[in-house]
C-alpha cells in the first residue's frame, strides 16, 4: 500500500504523501468505533505521552524555554528588520526544526526512531538534536523507547 493521496510538492502547503508517526498518533488517539464485546489492548505508551504533554505545557520548563527563545532572538533591538524581511530567512530555516513543539518532542523521544519524523516518507534530514528540548528530553528518554502493550480486558 504505497501512496494513497494525490500529493503535490514544492508549494507552501506541507502535503506529505504518507502520515508520520506523530500525525498518526494525533489522529487515532482515543478515536474510532468501540464495540463493547471486543477486547481492547491497553495502550500504555500513548497514555503516558498525553499525560506528559499536559504537564509540560503549563510548566516553568516551558516558560523558561520561551524566555530563552525570546532572549535569543536577534532583531527588534536593532530596530530594523520587519516581518517581511524576516520571512525569507524563516522559510529557509524551516519550521520543523526549532518550532517543533514539546508534543512532537515527547512523542519522538518515546516512540520514534530517526526515520519516524514529521515526514514519513523521507529518512534524511530529520534533525533531532535541539538544545531547547534537553531537560524534558532526557527525562523522557530514560523510559524504554518502545513499550510493549499487554492485552487486558477493556
Amino acid at each position: 500500500m504505497s501512496e494513497v493521496t494525490t500529493s503535490r510538492r514544492g508549494g507552501y502547503l506541507d502535503r506529505p504523501s504518507s502520515s508520520s508517526l506523530a500525525d498518526v498518533i494525533d489522529t487515532i488517539l482515543d478515536k474510532g468505533l468501540v464495540i463493547d464485546a471486543f477486547v481492547r489492548v491497553s495502550v500504555v505508551g500513548i497514555e503516558l505521552i498525553t499525560i506528559d504533554i499536559r504537564i509540560v505545557i503549563a510548566s516553568v520548563d516551558t516558560y523558561l524555554r520561551f524566555a530563552e527563545a525570546t532572549n535569543r532572538l536577534d532583531l527588534a533591538e536593532s530596530g530594523g528588520r520587519d516581518l517581511t524581511e524576516l520571512s525569507g530567512s524563516m522559510m529557509e530555516s524551516g519550521s520543523q526544526g526549532k518550532t517543533k513543539g514539546m508534543l512532537q518532542g515527547a512523542k519522538e523521544a518515546l516512540l520514534g526512531d530517526g526515520d519516524d519524523g514529521r515526514r514519513g516518507d523521507s529518512d534524511e534530514d530529520d534533525e533531532e538534536p535541539e538544545e531547547e528540548r534537553e531537560p524534558r528530553q532526557k527525562r523522557t528518554q530514560e523510559r524504554p523507547r518502545r513499550r510493549p502493550v499487554r492485552k487486558e480486558q477493556a
Binding site: S19, Y63, E77
Partner: protein
C-alpha cells in the same frame, strides 16, 4: 481484492484464532490489494450480513507493541479510506475469533453501521495542522508588548540563576501572547475552511506554537479545491504560519456522529 471474494481466502482453520480489527466497510467495497497490517500479517475481510470486517491474525496473542502497530493500523485504514468508506475501530481492538464478530455485531447493529457507511460514502477525512513560526510570533510580541520588551532586555545576557523570576515571568507572558494570537488566527482559519468542507472538528491543541489542529470532513470531489485554497493560504502566511495537510484518512474523528 473485493470484500466479498476475500472473505474466504483464509477463512478455513481460523476458528479460535485471535483477530485484530481495523474497521467496517460495506460488503461490496472495493479494497486495495495486499494490505499488510499489524505484526505484518495480511489483512483480510470477513463478510457479515450487512457489513464486512477488516481483520488480521494476531500471531502473538500477548503483545502488540508500539509504534509499528499504530502505524500499521492507520496505514491500513487510510489506504482503505482512499478507495471506499470505512468506519475505523479504535486502535487495539481484538476479537477472540471470527465467530465472535457475528455475535458482537447483531443484525440491527450491522444495519446501523451500514447506514453510517452510506452517509460517509462521498466524504473523506483530512487532518490540518497550523503551526506558528515561533521566532516570527515572538518578534511580534516583543514589538507589541512593552512588558515583554522590558523583561527581555532585563534578562538578556544574564545568567538564568540570576534572573529566574524575570525569565519565568517573561516566558509566561510570551506563552500567553501565543494564546491570544492563536484565538484570533484559529478563528480566521476556521472561517476560511467552512465553505470548503462539510465539517470541521477542532482538536485540543497541546503546543504553544499550535494555531489549529483540526479534522476536516471533505467531499471526495472537493479535496483538490481545499488543497488549492490551503496552498494559497500557506503562501499568504509564509514565514509566520505553516500549514500541513494529511490524508485522505479514515473518518476517525467523525465515527461518533452523523
Amino acid at each position: 481484492m473485493t470484500a466479498s471474494t476475500s472473505a474466504t481466502d483464509h477463512g478455513e482453520a481460523r476458528v479460535g484464532q485471535s483477530l485484530y480489527l481495523y474497521g467496517l466497510v460495506m460488503p461490496d467495497a472495493s479494497l486495495p490489494d495486499a494490505l499488510t497490517g499489524v505484526s505484518r500479517e495480511p489483512v483480510r475481510a470477513v463478510g457479515l450480513e450487512h457489513v464486512t470486517v477488516l481483520v488480521s491474525d494476531v500471531p502473538d496473542a500477548e503483545l502488540i507493541g508500539l509504534p509499528a502497530e499504530v502505524r500499521a493500523h492507520a496505514a491500513v485504514l487510510d489506504a482503505v479510506a482512499a478507495a471506499a468508506p470505512v468506519l475505523p475501530m479504535r486502535f487495539g481492538t481484538t476479537a477472540a475469533g471470527e465467530d465472535q464478530l457475528a455475535s458482537a455485531l447483531p443484525t440491527e447493529r450491522q444495519r446501523a453501521y451500514a447506514g453510517r457507511l452510506g452517509e460517509l460514502a462521498d466524504v473523506v477525512q483530512l487532518s490540518l495542522t497550523a503551526r506558528y513560526d515561533q521566532d516570527a510570533v515572538i518578534a511580534e510580541l516583543v514589538d507589541e508588548e512593552p512588558e515583554i520588551r522590558r523583561l527581555r532586555e532585563l534578562t538578556r545576557g544574564r545568567s538564568e540563576a540570576a534572573t529566574y523570576g524575570e525569565r519565568t515571568r517573561l516566558g509566561e507572558l510570551v506563552v500567553a501572547g501565543f494564546g491570544r494570537k492563536r484565538a484570533a488566527d484559529a478563528d480566521a482559519l476556521e472561517r476560511m475552511l467552512t465553505p470548503l468542507v462539510e465539517r470541521v472538528q477542532q482538536r485540543e491543541v497541546g503546543q504553544v506554537d499550535a494555531v489549529l489542529d483540526a479534522a476536516l470532513l471533505v467531499r471526495r470531489d472537493a479535496v483538490a479545491r481545499l488543497e488549492e485554497a490551503l496552498e494559497e493560504a500557506a503562501a499568504r502566511h509564509a514565514g509566520r504560519v505553516t500549514l500541513r495537510l494529511v490524508g485522505p484518512q479514515a473518518p476517525y474523528d467523525f465515527v461518533g456522529e452523523l
